[in-house]
Symmetry: C2
Protein backbone atom coordinates (compact mmCIF):
# COMPACT_ATOMS: atom_id res chain seq x y z
CA UNK A 1 0.00 0.00 0.00
CA UNK A 2 1.04 3.49 -0.85
CA UNK A 3 -0.12 6.36 1.31
CA UNK A 4 -0.35 10.04 0.45
CA UNK A 5 2.75 10.93 2.42
CA UNK A 6 4.83 8.34 0.57
CA UNK A 7 3.69 9.75 -2.77
CA UNK A 8 4.42 13.28 -1.68
CA UNK A 9 7.87 12.42 -0.36
CA UNK A 10 8.88 10.38 -3.40
CA UNK A 11 7.69 12.99 -5.87
CA UNK A 12 9.49 15.73 -3.95
CA UNK A 13 12.77 13.85 -4.42
CA UNK A 14 12.72 14.77 -8.11
CA UNK A 15 14.00 18.15 -6.92
CA UNK A 16 17.51 18.68 -5.62
CA UNK A 17 16.42 20.72 -2.61
CA UNK A 18 14.30 17.86 -1.27
CA UNK A 19 17.02 15.29 -1.98
CA UNK A 20 19.29 17.43 0.15
CA UNK A 21 16.63 17.96 2.81
CA UNK A 22 15.80 14.27 3.19
CA UNK A 23 19.26 13.01 2.20
CA UNK A 24 17.74 10.45 -0.14
CA UNK A 25 17.49 9.84 -3.87
CA UNK A 26 15.28 7.76 -6.15
CA UNK A 27 16.44 4.66 -7.99
CA UNK A 28 14.11 3.04 -10.51
CA UNK A 29 14.10 -0.09 -12.59
CA UNK A 30 14.57 -3.77 -11.93
CA UNK A 31 18.14 -4.10 -13.13
CA UNK A 32 19.62 -1.14 -11.27
CA UNK A 33 17.75 -1.96 -8.05
CA UNK A 34 19.02 -5.53 -8.12
CA UNK A 35 22.51 -4.03 -8.51
CA UNK A 36 21.88 -1.77 -5.52
CA UNK A 37 20.65 -4.71 -3.45
CA UNK A 38 23.81 -6.66 -4.21
CA UNK A 39 26.30 -3.92 -3.33
CA UNK A 40 27.05 -3.98 0.36
CA UNK A 41 27.74 -0.29 0.79
CA UNK A 42 24.44 0.99 -0.65
CA UNK A 43 22.04 2.03 2.05
CA UNK A 44 18.54 1.40 0.77
CA UNK A 45 16.03 3.24 2.87
CA UNK A 46 12.87 1.75 1.42
CA UNK A 47 11.68 -0.27 -1.53
CA UNK A 48 8.39 0.02 -3.41
CA UNK A 49 7.86 -2.92 -5.73
CA UNK A 50 5.29 -5.16 -7.33
CA UNK A 51 4.58 -8.53 -5.78
CA UNK A 52 6.14 -10.15 -8.82
CA UNK A 53 9.43 -8.31 -8.27
CA UNK A 54 9.35 -9.19 -4.59
CA UNK A 55 8.73 -12.89 -5.18
CA UNK A 56 11.53 -13.07 -7.74
CA UNK A 57 14.09 -11.27 -5.59
CA UNK A 58 12.86 -12.23 -2.13
CA UNK A 59 16.14 -13.53 -0.73
CA UNK A 60 18.11 -10.52 -1.92
CA UNK A 61 15.49 -8.06 -0.69
CA UNK A 62 15.03 -9.60 2.74
CA UNK A 63 18.75 -9.79 3.32
CA UNK A 64 19.19 -6.11 2.61
CA UNK A 65 16.21 -4.31 4.08
CA UNK A 66 13.07 -4.53 6.14
CA UNK A 67 11.15 -1.60 4.73
CA UNK A 68 9.47 -3.23 1.72
CA UNK A 69 6.20 -1.93 0.32
CA UNK A 70 4.39 -4.24 -2.06
CA UNK A 71 2.40 -2.03 -4.42
CA UNK A 72 0.33 -2.40 -7.57
CA UNK A 73 1.40 -1.38 -11.08
CA UNK A 74 -1.05 1.48 -10.83
CA UNK A 75 0.48 2.73 -7.59
CA UNK A 76 3.97 2.43 -9.04
CA UNK A 77 2.87 4.60 -11.93
CA UNK A 78 1.90 7.33 -9.47
CA UNK A 79 5.42 7.63 -8.10
CA UNK A 80 7.49 6.74 -11.16
CA UNK A 81 9.59 9.19 -13.15
CA UNK A 82 9.80 6.84 -16.10
CA UNK A 83 7.55 6.95 -19.13
CA UNK A 84 6.88 3.26 -18.71
CA UNK A 85 7.05 2.48 -15.03
CA UNK A 86 9.06 -0.57 -14.14
CA UNK A 87 8.49 -3.07 -11.35
CA UNK A 88 10.39 -1.37 -8.53
CA UNK A 89 11.44 1.97 -7.09
CA UNK A 90 13.85 2.43 -4.19
CA UNK A 91 14.82 5.33 -2.00
CA UNK A 92 18.53 5.25 -1.27
CA UNK A 93 20.38 7.24 1.38
CA UNK A 94 22.97 9.71 0.16
CA UNK A 95 26.12 8.44 1.83
CA UNK A 96 28.75 10.74 0.39
CA UNK A 97 32.19 9.65 -0.67
CA UNK A 98 34.84 7.67 1.16
CA UNK A 99 36.75 10.74 2.28
CA UNK A 100 39.63 12.72 0.91
CA UNK A 101 42.26 10.07 1.72
CA UNK A 102 41.11 8.04 -1.26
CA UNK A 103 41.17 11.15 -3.41
CA UNK A 104 44.72 11.96 -2.36
CA UNK A 105 45.85 8.43 -3.18
CA UNK A 106 44.06 8.26 -6.53
CA UNK A 107 46.15 7.63 -9.65
CA UNK A 108 43.47 8.60 -12.15
CA UNK A 109 40.96 11.34 -11.38
CA UNK A 110 38.35 12.80 -13.71
CA UNK A 111 37.30 16.42 -13.13
CA UNK A 112 34.06 17.69 -14.69
CA UNK A 113 33.89 21.46 -15.14
CA UNK A 114 30.14 22.20 -15.24
CA UNK A 115 28.66 19.20 -17.03
CA UNK A 116 24.98 20.19 -17.19
CA UNK A 117 23.18 17.38 -19.02
CA UNK A 118 22.03 14.57 -16.70
CA UNK A 119 22.30 11.96 -19.47
CA UNK A 120 25.91 12.95 -20.09
CA UNK A 121 26.68 12.89 -16.35
CA UNK A 122 25.19 9.41 -15.93
CA UNK A 123 26.98 8.06 -18.99
CA UNK A 124 30.28 9.53 -17.79
CA UNK A 125 29.80 7.87 -14.38
CA UNK A 126 29.18 4.55 -16.18
CA UNK A 127 32.33 4.97 -18.28
CA UNK A 128 34.41 5.94 -15.23
CA UNK A 129 33.34 2.71 -13.60
CA UNK A 130 34.15 0.64 -16.73
CA UNK A 131 37.60 2.17 -17.15
CA UNK A 132 38.48 2.02 -13.47
CA UNK A 133 38.76 5.74 -12.73
CA UNK A 134 39.73 6.07 -9.06
CA UNK A 135 37.72 9.18 -8.30
CA UNK A 136 35.32 11.49 -10.07
CA UNK A 137 35.26 15.13 -8.99
CA UNK A 138 32.44 17.36 -10.23
CA UNK A 139 32.42 21.15 -10.10
CA UNK A 140 29.82 22.76 -7.80
CA UNK A 141 27.78 23.96 -10.82
CA UNK A 142 27.59 20.55 -12.48
CA UNK A 143 24.21 18.81 -12.57
CA UNK A 144 23.35 17.05 -9.30
CA UNK A 145 24.64 13.46 -9.44
CA UNK A 146 21.49 12.31 -7.61
CA UNK A 147 19.17 13.68 -10.31
CA UNK A 148 16.91 10.75 -11.38
CA UNK A 149 18.11 10.94 -15.01
CA UNK A 150 21.74 10.75 -13.90
CA UNK A 151 20.95 7.70 -11.77
CA UNK A 152 19.12 5.98 -14.65
CA UNK A 153 21.87 6.49 -17.20
CA UNK A 154 24.64 5.57 -14.75
CA UNK A 155 23.21 2.03 -14.74
CA UNK A 156 24.30 1.15 -11.23
CA UNK A 157 27.78 2.63 -11.54
CA UNK A 158 26.66 5.44 -9.24
CA UNK A 159 26.92 2.93 -6.37
CA UNK A 160 30.47 1.91 -7.17
CA UNK A 161 32.27 5.13 -8.00
CA UNK A 162 33.84 7.52 -5.53
CA UNK A 163 32.37 10.93 -6.38
CA UNK A 164 33.38 14.30 -4.89
CA UNK A 165 32.13 17.85 -5.41
CA UNK A 166 34.84 20.52 -5.34
CA UNK A 167 35.77 23.53 -7.34
CA UNK A 168 39.04 23.21 -9.20
CA UNK A 169 40.98 25.37 -6.75
CA UNK A 170 39.88 23.22 -3.80
CA UNK A 171 40.88 20.08 -5.69
CA UNK A 172 44.31 21.48 -6.47
CA UNK A 173 44.85 22.32 -2.80
CA UNK A 174 43.86 18.79 -1.76
CA UNK A 175 46.17 17.07 -4.22
CA UNK A 176 49.92 17.38 -4.07
CA UNK A 177 51.89 19.19 -6.74
CA UNK A 178 53.14 16.00 -8.37
CA UNK A 179 49.77 15.60 -10.06
CA UNK A 180 49.59 16.35 -13.81
CA UNK A 181 46.47 18.05 -15.17
CA UNK A 182 45.26 17.26 -18.69
CA UNK A 183 42.57 19.45 -20.24
CA UNK A 184 40.47 18.35 -23.21
CA UNK A 185 40.13 21.01 -25.89
CA UNK A 186 39.28 21.47 -29.53
CA UNK A 187 42.71 22.97 -30.11
CA UNK A 188 45.27 20.99 -28.21
CA UNK A 189 47.83 18.28 -28.75
CA UNK A 190 46.67 15.30 -30.82
CA UNK A 191 45.73 12.57 -28.31
CA UNK A 192 47.87 10.13 -30.28
CA UNK A 193 50.99 12.02 -29.16
CA UNK A 194 50.03 12.28 -25.51
CA UNK A 195 51.78 10.19 -22.88
CA UNK A 196 50.25 10.32 -19.43
CA UNK A 197 52.09 10.86 -16.17
CA UNK A 198 50.43 9.70 -12.99
CA UNK A 199 48.79 10.74 -10.76
CA UNK A 200 46.72 12.31 -13.51
CA UNK A 201 43.65 14.53 -13.47
CA UNK A 202 41.69 14.62 -16.75
CA UNK A 203 39.56 17.78 -17.03
CA UNK A 204 36.40 17.82 -19.16
CA UNK A 205 34.62 21.09 -19.94
CA UNK A 206 31.00 22.17 -20.20
CA UNK A 207 28.93 20.92 -23.15
CA UNK A 208 28.65 24.38 -24.77
CA UNK A 209 31.57 26.41 -23.49
CA UNK A 210 34.30 23.84 -22.84
CA UNK A 211 36.75 24.33 -19.98
CA UNK A 212 36.53 27.70 -18.23
CA UNK A 213 39.34 30.16 -18.89
CA UNK A 214 40.41 30.07 -15.25
CA UNK A 215 40.90 26.30 -15.21
CA UNK A 216 42.34 26.34 -18.72
CA UNK A 217 45.30 28.35 -17.52
CA UNK A 218 46.09 25.66 -14.95
CA UNK A 219 46.14 22.49 -17.07
CA UNK A 220 49.63 21.41 -18.06
CA UNK A 221 48.60 19.65 -21.27
CA UNK A 222 45.64 19.96 -23.60
CA UNK A 223 44.34 16.89 -25.37
CA UNK A 224 42.44 16.94 -28.67
CA UNK A 225 40.67 14.02 -30.33
CA UNK A 226 41.35 14.40 -34.05
CA UNK A 227 38.42 15.44 -36.22
CA UNK A 228 38.22 13.51 -39.47
CA UNK A 229 35.53 15.70 -40.95
CA UNK A 230 36.15 19.40 -40.66
CA UNK A 231 32.49 20.30 -40.95
CA UNK A 232 31.64 18.85 -37.53
CA UNK A 233 31.95 21.15 -34.58
CA UNK A 234 32.46 18.88 -31.62
CA UNK A 235 31.93 15.51 -30.03
CA UNK A 236 29.39 14.87 -27.28
CA UNK A 237 31.02 15.47 -23.86
CA UNK A 238 30.43 11.91 -22.60
CA UNK A 239 31.89 10.52 -25.84
CA UNK A 240 35.01 12.70 -25.63
CA UNK A 241 35.48 11.76 -21.95
CA UNK A 242 35.20 8.04 -22.65
CA UNK A 243 37.64 8.14 -25.58
CA UNK A 244 40.22 9.88 -23.39
CA UNK A 245 39.70 7.33 -20.59
CA UNK A 246 40.03 4.51 -23.12
CA UNK A 247 43.25 6.09 -24.40
CA UNK A 248 44.72 6.43 -20.89
CA UNK A 249 44.08 2.75 -20.11
CA UNK A 250 45.07 1.57 -23.57
CA UNK A 251 48.47 3.24 -23.25
CA UNK A 252 49.00 1.72 -19.79
CA UNK A 253 48.44 -1.83 -21.07
Amino acid sequence: MLNKNDIKLIRSLRLKKYRQKYNKFIVEGEKIIIEALKIESTNIDSLYCTNEFYQENRALVNKKLSNVNIITDKELKQISNLKTANSALALVKIMGNTGTDNLKDAELILYLDDIMDPGNMGTIIRSCDWFGVDALVVSPNSVDIFNPKVIQSSMGSIFRLDIFRYDFGQLQKLLNDKVTYYGTKLEGENIQNITYDFPAVIVIGNESHGISAEISSKTGYNITIPNYNKSTESLNAAIATSIVLYDVKNKLD
Copy 2:
Protein backbone atom coordinates in the same frame (compact mmCIF):
# COMPACT_ATOMS: atom_id res chain seq x y z
CA MET B 1 1.36 34.37 -37.11
CA LEU B 2 0.63 30.79 -36.31
CA ASN B 3 -2.68 29.29 -37.38
CA LYS B 4 -4.43 26.23 -36.01
CA ASN B 5 -3.46 24.07 -38.97
CA ASP B 6 0.23 24.90 -38.55
CA ILE B 7 0.05 23.93 -34.89
CA LYS B 8 -1.75 20.71 -35.69
CA LEU B 9 0.70 19.76 -38.45
CA ILE B 10 3.82 20.54 -36.44
CA ARG B 11 2.60 18.68 -33.37
CA SER B 12 1.67 15.67 -35.50
CA LEU B 13 5.28 15.44 -36.71
CA ARG B 14 6.30 14.23 -33.27
CA LEU B 15 4.95 10.87 -34.42
CA LYS B 16 6.68 8.73 -37.02
CA LYS B 17 3.52 7.98 -38.98
CA TYR B 18 2.91 11.67 -39.66
CA ARG B 19 6.56 12.30 -40.51
CA GLN B 20 6.18 9.57 -43.11
CA LYS B 21 2.83 10.88 -44.30
CA TYR B 22 4.00 14.47 -44.79
CA ASN B 23 7.62 13.56 -45.52
CA LYS B 24 8.88 16.20 -43.11
CA PHE B 25 10.61 16.36 -39.76
CA ILE B 26 11.07 18.98 -37.04
CA VAL B 27 14.35 20.73 -36.30
CA GLU B 28 14.58 23.00 -33.27
CA GLY B 29 17.11 25.36 -31.82
CA GLU B 30 19.13 28.27 -33.09
CA LYS B 31 22.43 26.49 -33.59
CA ILE B 32 21.16 23.48 -35.49
CA ILE B 33 18.84 25.58 -37.68
CA ILE B 34 21.69 27.88 -38.63
CA GLU B 35 23.62 24.71 -39.60
CA ALA B 36 20.68 23.53 -41.70
CA LEU B 37 20.45 26.91 -43.40
CA LYS B 38 24.13 26.78 -44.33
CA ILE B 39 24.11 23.28 -45.80
CA GLU B 40 23.14 23.42 -49.46
CA SER B 41 21.49 20.01 -49.63
CA THR B 42 19.02 20.51 -46.77
CA ASN B 43 15.56 21.24 -48.03
CA ILE B 44 13.87 23.46 -45.47
CA ASP B 45 10.15 23.54 -46.04
CA SER B 46 9.26 26.27 -43.58
CA LEU B 47 10.72 28.20 -40.72
CA TYR B 48 8.95 29.47 -37.60
CA CYS B 49 11.10 31.93 -35.69
CA THR B 50 11.09 34.96 -33.46
CA ASN B 51 11.68 38.35 -35.01
CA GLU B 52 14.99 38.50 -33.15
CA PHE B 53 16.20 35.28 -34.80
CA TYR B 54 15.03 36.53 -38.18
CA GLN B 55 16.80 39.88 -37.87
CA GLU B 56 20.03 38.22 -36.79
CA ASN B 57 20.03 35.63 -39.58
CA ARG B 58 18.15 37.52 -42.26
CA ALA B 59 20.65 37.06 -45.10
CA LEU B 60 21.02 33.35 -44.46
CA VAL B 61 17.27 32.82 -44.13
CA ASN B 62 16.27 34.79 -47.21
CA LYS B 63 18.86 33.06 -49.35
CA LYS B 64 17.53 29.64 -48.40
CA LEU B 65 13.76 29.91 -48.21
CA SER B 66 10.71 32.03 -48.73
CA ASN B 67 8.36 30.40 -46.26
CA VAL B 68 9.28 32.27 -43.07
CA ASN B 69 6.79 32.74 -40.26
CA ILE B 70 7.72 35.33 -37.67
CA ILE B 71 6.08 34.25 -34.43
CA THR B 72 6.11 35.26 -30.79
CA ASP B 73 7.84 33.40 -27.96
CA LYS B 74 4.43 32.33 -26.76
CA GLU B 75 3.51 30.88 -30.15
CA LEU B 76 6.84 29.09 -30.37
CA LYS B 77 6.11 27.50 -27.02
CA GLN B 78 2.90 26.03 -28.46
CA ILE B 79 4.76 24.07 -31.13
CA SER B 80 8.06 23.33 -29.39
CA ASN B 81 9.14 19.91 -28.17
CA LEU B 82 11.80 21.37 -25.94
CA LYS B 83 11.38 22.10 -22.25
CA THR B 84 12.69 25.59 -22.83
CA ALA B 85 11.63 26.64 -26.30
CA ASN B 86 14.34 28.24 -28.34
CA SER B 87 14.05 31.01 -30.93
CA ALA B 88 13.35 28.94 -34.05
CA LEU B 89 11.72 25.76 -35.34
CA ALA B 90 12.01 24.46 -38.90
CA LEU B 91 10.23 21.79 -40.89
CA VAL B 92 12.69 19.98 -43.13
CA LYS B 93 11.85 17.69 -46.02
CA ILE B 94 12.97 14.08 -45.71
CA MET B 95 15.22 13.69 -48.72
CA GLY B 96 16.52 10.17 -48.24
CA ASN B 97 20.10 9.12 -48.91
CA THR B 98 22.32 9.60 -51.92
CA GLY B 99 21.58 6.15 -53.36
CA THR B 100 23.24 2.78 -53.09
CA ASP B 101 26.23 3.69 -55.28
CA ASN B 102 27.74 5.63 -52.40
CA LEU B 103 27.04 2.72 -50.08
CA LYS B 104 28.76 0.27 -52.42
CA ASP B 105 31.82 2.52 -52.66
CA ALA B 106 32.04 3.18 -48.90
CA GLU B 107 35.22 2.21 -47.09
CA LEU B 108 33.81 2.51 -43.58
CA ILE B 109 30.19 1.64 -42.83
CA LEU B 110 28.50 1.51 -39.43
CA TYR B 111 25.55 -0.88 -39.03
CA LEU B 112 23.18 -0.42 -36.08
CA ASP B 113 21.26 -3.52 -35.10
CA ASP B 114 18.16 -2.17 -33.32
CA ILE B 115 19.43 0.89 -31.49
CA MET B 116 16.29 2.00 -29.64
CA ASP B 117 17.27 5.07 -27.62
CA PRO B 118 16.91 8.33 -29.57
CA GLY B 119 19.68 10.01 -27.55
CA ASN B 120 22.06 7.18 -28.42
CA MET B 121 21.07 7.30 -32.08
CA GLY B 122 21.64 11.06 -32.30
CA THR B 123 24.98 10.83 -30.49
CA ILE B 124 26.10 7.99 -32.78
CA ILE B 125 25.18 10.10 -35.85
CA ARG B 126 27.25 12.96 -34.41
CA SER B 127 30.24 10.67 -33.82
CA CYS B 128 29.93 9.14 -37.33
CA ASP B 129 30.17 12.62 -38.74
CA TRP B 130 33.19 13.51 -36.57
CA PHE B 131 35.09 10.34 -37.45
CA GLY B 132 34.23 10.48 -41.15
CA VAL B 133 32.13 7.31 -41.43
CA ASP B 134 31.10 7.02 -45.10
CA ALA B 135 27.65 5.57 -44.50
CA LEU B 136 25.43 4.69 -41.57
CA VAL B 137 22.99 1.83 -42.03
CA VAL B 138 20.26 1.31 -39.43
CA SER B 139 18.17 -1.83 -39.04
CA PRO B 140 14.43 -1.48 -39.75
CA ASN B 141 13.60 -1.80 -36.03
CA SER B 142 15.98 0.92 -34.91
CA VAL B 143 14.49 4.16 -33.63
CA ASP B 144 13.40 6.52 -36.42
CA ILE B 145 16.29 8.82 -37.32
CA PHE B 146 13.84 11.70 -37.77
CA ASN B 147 12.56 11.42 -34.19
CA PRO B 148 12.92 14.93 -32.66
CA LYS B 149 15.24 13.67 -29.90
CA VAL B 150 17.52 12.03 -32.46
CA ILE B 151 17.65 15.29 -34.43
CA GLN B 152 18.46 17.32 -31.30
CA SER B 153 21.30 15.10 -30.13
CA SER B 154 22.77 14.71 -33.63
CA MET B 155 23.59 18.45 -33.48
CA GLY B 156 23.36 19.06 -37.23
CA SER B 157 25.26 15.93 -38.22
CA ILE B 158 21.96 14.47 -39.43
CA PHE B 159 22.25 16.81 -42.44
CA ARG B 160 25.74 15.67 -43.38
CA LEU B 161 25.69 11.90 -42.96
CA ASP B 162 24.51 9.39 -45.56
CA ILE B 163 21.99 7.20 -43.71
CA PHE B 164 20.30 4.03 -45.03
CA ARG B 165 17.72 1.67 -43.53
CA TYR B 166 18.25 -1.99 -44.41
CA ASP B 167 18.18 -5.27 -42.61
CA PHE B 168 21.54 -6.98 -42.37
CA GLY B 169 20.76 -9.51 -45.12
CA GLN B 170 19.84 -6.74 -47.57
CA LEU B 171 23.04 -4.88 -46.71
CA GLN B 172 25.15 -7.99 -47.31
CA LYS B 173 23.52 -8.50 -50.71
CA LEU B 174 24.23 -4.89 -51.67
CA LEU B 175 27.88 -5.00 -50.69
CA ASN B 176 30.41 -7.23 -52.39
CA ASP B 177 32.02 -10.13 -50.59
CA LYS B 178 35.33 -8.35 -50.10
CA VAL B 179 33.79 -6.44 -47.21
CA THR B 180 34.87 -7.46 -43.69
CA TYR B 181 32.26 -7.40 -40.91
CA TYR B 182 33.31 -6.56 -37.35
CA GLY B 183 30.85 -7.16 -34.53
CA THR B 184 31.17 -5.50 -31.12
CA LYS B 185 30.64 -7.88 -28.23
CA LEU B 186 31.33 -8.32 -24.55
CA GLU B 187 33.29 -11.49 -25.29
CA GLY B 188 35.40 -10.94 -28.36
CA GLU B 189 38.95 -10.10 -29.31
CA ASN B 190 40.57 -7.25 -27.36
CA ILE B 191 40.27 -4.15 -29.56
CA GLN B 192 43.98 -3.51 -29.03
CA ASN B 193 44.77 -6.61 -31.12
CA ILE B 194 42.36 -5.83 -33.95
CA THR B 195 43.65 -4.67 -37.32
CA TYR B 196 40.98 -3.51 -39.74
CA ASP B 197 40.63 -4.51 -43.36
CA PHE B 198 38.65 -2.24 -45.66
CA PRO B 199 35.96 -1.95 -46.81
CA ALA B 200 34.80 -2.52 -43.25
CA VAL B 201 31.37 -2.74 -41.68
CA ILE B 202 31.27 -2.20 -37.91
CA VAL B 203 28.17 -3.74 -36.32
CA ILE B 204 26.73 -2.36 -33.07
CA GLY B 205 24.04 -4.25 -31.17
CA ASN B 206 20.92 -3.26 -29.28
CA GLU B 207 21.34 -1.50 -25.90
CA SER B 208 19.99 -4.45 -23.88
CA HIS B 209 20.50 -7.56 -26.00
CA GLY B 210 23.58 -6.77 -28.08
CA ILE B 211 23.89 -8.11 -31.63
CA SER B 212 21.16 -10.58 -32.65
CA ALA B 213 22.19 -14.23 -32.93
CA GLU B 214 21.47 -14.24 -36.64
CA ILE B 215 23.82 -11.34 -37.40
CA SER B 216 26.35 -12.61 -34.88
CA SER B 217 26.94 -15.72 -36.95
CA LYS B 218 27.85 -13.55 -39.93
CA THR B 219 30.48 -11.19 -38.48
CA GLY B 220 34.04 -12.27 -39.22
CA TYR B 221 35.60 -10.66 -36.16
CA ASN B 222 34.26 -9.66 -32.78
CA ILE B 223 35.70 -6.64 -31.04
CA THR B 224 35.70 -6.10 -27.27
CA ILE B 225 36.66 -2.93 -25.43
CA PRO B 226 38.56 -4.10 -22.34
CA ASN B 227 36.78 -3.71 -19.02
CA TYR B 228 39.08 -2.40 -16.28
CA ASN B 229 36.58 -3.00 -13.53
CA LYS B 230 34.94 -6.39 -13.54
CA SER B 231 31.91 -5.23 -11.61
CA THR B 232 30.58 -3.12 -14.50
CA GLU B 233 28.33 -4.84 -16.98
CA SER B 234 28.63 -2.80 -20.14
CA LEU B 235 29.36 0.52 -21.76
CA ASN B 236 26.67 2.76 -23.22
CA ALA B 237 26.09 1.84 -26.89
CA ALA B 238 27.00 5.30 -28.24
CA ILE B 239 30.19 5.25 -26.15
CA ALA B 240 31.23 1.80 -27.39
CA THR B 241 30.49 2.82 -31.00
CA SER B 242 32.57 5.98 -30.73
CA ILE B 243 35.54 4.22 -29.13
CA VAL B 244 35.58 1.68 -31.98
CA LEU B 245 35.35 4.46 -34.60
CA TYR B 246 38.19 6.30 -32.84
CA ASP B 247 40.24 3.10 -32.86
CA VAL B 248 39.62 2.50 -36.59
CA LYS B 249 40.78 6.01 -37.50
CA ASN B 250 43.62 6.01 -34.98
CA LYS B 251 45.09 2.85 -36.51
CA LEU B 252 44.80 4.30 -40.03
CA ASP B 253 46.81 7.39 -39.10
